[in-house]
Structures are given as C-alpha cells and as structure tokens.
Amino acid sequence: MAKNKLAVLVTSKPTSNTTHTAIKAIEGAIATNNIEVIGVFFYHDGVCCANQQMQIPSDEFQPLVHWQQLHLTHHIPLHLCITAAEKRGLTDEPSTCNIAPEFTVSGLGQLVELTSQADRVLHL
C-alpha cells in the first residue's frame, strides 16, 4: 500500500518549542513506517534553522543537528525560502555562504508543489 505523504511547513524560530515539536513529529512519522515525509519547507523565522553560524549553548537543544540528521539518515528534503532567508542574514554566496549544505535553496513555488503532492500538511 502506498504511504501517506506528509509535508511540513516550519515558520517558528529554531529555538522555539514548536520547532522542537516539528522535529519530533517528523521523527514519529518516520517511525510509523506508513508515512512518507516528502519535504520540509522553511519560511518566515523558520529559515534561521539553516544558519550554520548560529551558536546555541551546548546544553540546549540543537535543532540544526537534528535537521541535518533527518536529511542525511532519512533523505528528507529541506527546502529553504531564499527570500525569507536573505532577509534574515543568510546567504548562498560562495565566499560568505552560511547555509548548511543539507538545505536546498528554494522559493515559495516549492511550498505550492509540496502542498499539492501531500496528503497531509503540518505547519508549526
């Protein structure tokens, strides 16, 4: 049987409890084995999740590490809205790039595509 397709929109700040909830929800969805997470779209303050230069104290939750793990271990596509990202100090200019390589630079059209492909969408 085909898996249910889940798309996730993250607009919360990286240090927000709702970003933590999004990560846990995706990990839970993967663990069920009957949900396919077709992609995560980062928008609004959620784009800061891709910032490699963000320094969060080591005894606190590290969202970037978890996003990287979801991408590297489970091949979850991480789409970054570049317009929202550039507004918040992120750049993909080769000499000054501060976007983690697991993230794909993208635009709002990608959110439309994910939404149309998904059976369900989660927004946190």
């Binding site: 085909a2 397709k5 929109l9 607009t11 928008y43 609004h44 317009t83 929202a84 709002l108 059209g109 959110l111 439309v112 939404t115 149309s116 492909q117 998904a118 059976d119 969408v121 927004h123």
Partner: protein, 127 residues
C-alpha cells in the same frame, strides 16, 4: 497505485488563516504565500481573525512605523482570483472595529460560520 497518485494530485482547497496584526513581519509573508498559491491557480481562501482583522481595516499608515505598506498589495488579490475572503465578526466587535475595509469581497461571518467555513478546507496554514 493510480488512486493514490490521483488523490495526491487532486486540487486541494487551501485556507490561509491570518491571526497577526499588519505590524508583524508574518502578516506580509502570509500575503506572499497567498499570492504564490494564487499564481499557481490553486484554490486559496483568506481568513482573518484575532489581531489579524486589523490587516483589513482601511486607513492604516504602516509607513509611519517605517514599514513597507504591503496592505496596498491586497488590491491585487482579485487578479489572482482570490475572492474568498472571510473575517470574524466577533474579532472586529471586541476590538471596536467597524467593517470599513480597504478591499472588496470581504465576507463577515460569526464565530460558528467562520469555524465551519475554515474547516471546509483541506489544508490550513496559520500565520
């Protein structure tokens, strides 16, 4: 197999629920999302409740706070065929706001109607 492909590709009804005042960055970025769905000819409806109703109130001067007046862009919604625009009457009432809006096609709904209309959509994005 084909049924699941059809299910995923079938057009969805999308609701964008605006709950923040126009003075928040989120309000402008929510409008950008609505326009993008509109430009891809997706069925998108706009909902305004809570502080979000202030986005529709006429005569606001965002530039006086150093913000770009993105509310002017609401006038473009009709060119994207976004004509389902719903506002929560209760949210207006408790803020002593009138229904003097800066765009047309706004439909006033009471709380039960607003909730029913919102939940008739398959996807809800809340900004």
């Amino acid at each position: 197999m084909t049924s699941s492909a059809n299910r995923a590709c079938a057009p969805k009804s999308i609701a964008i629920l605006n709950s923040q005042s126009p003075f928040k960055e989120l309000a402008k970025e929510a409008l950008d999302v609505a326009l993008m769905f509109g430009s891809f000819e997706q069925a998108v409806s706009l909902f305004f409740s809570g502080e979000g109703v202030r986005q529709l109130v006429a005569g606001q001067q965002l530039d006086s706070l150093g913000m770009k007046n993105f509310l002017a862009t609401f006038a473009a919604l009709k060119f994207y065929d976004i004509e389902n625009i719903y506002v929560c009457q209760h949210s207006l009432t408790v803020r002593s706001l009138s229904n003097n809006f800066h765009i047309d096609f706004v439909q006033l709904l009471n709380q039960a109607e607003f909730s029913a209309k919102l939940h008739a959509h398959q996807i809800i994005y809340r900004f």
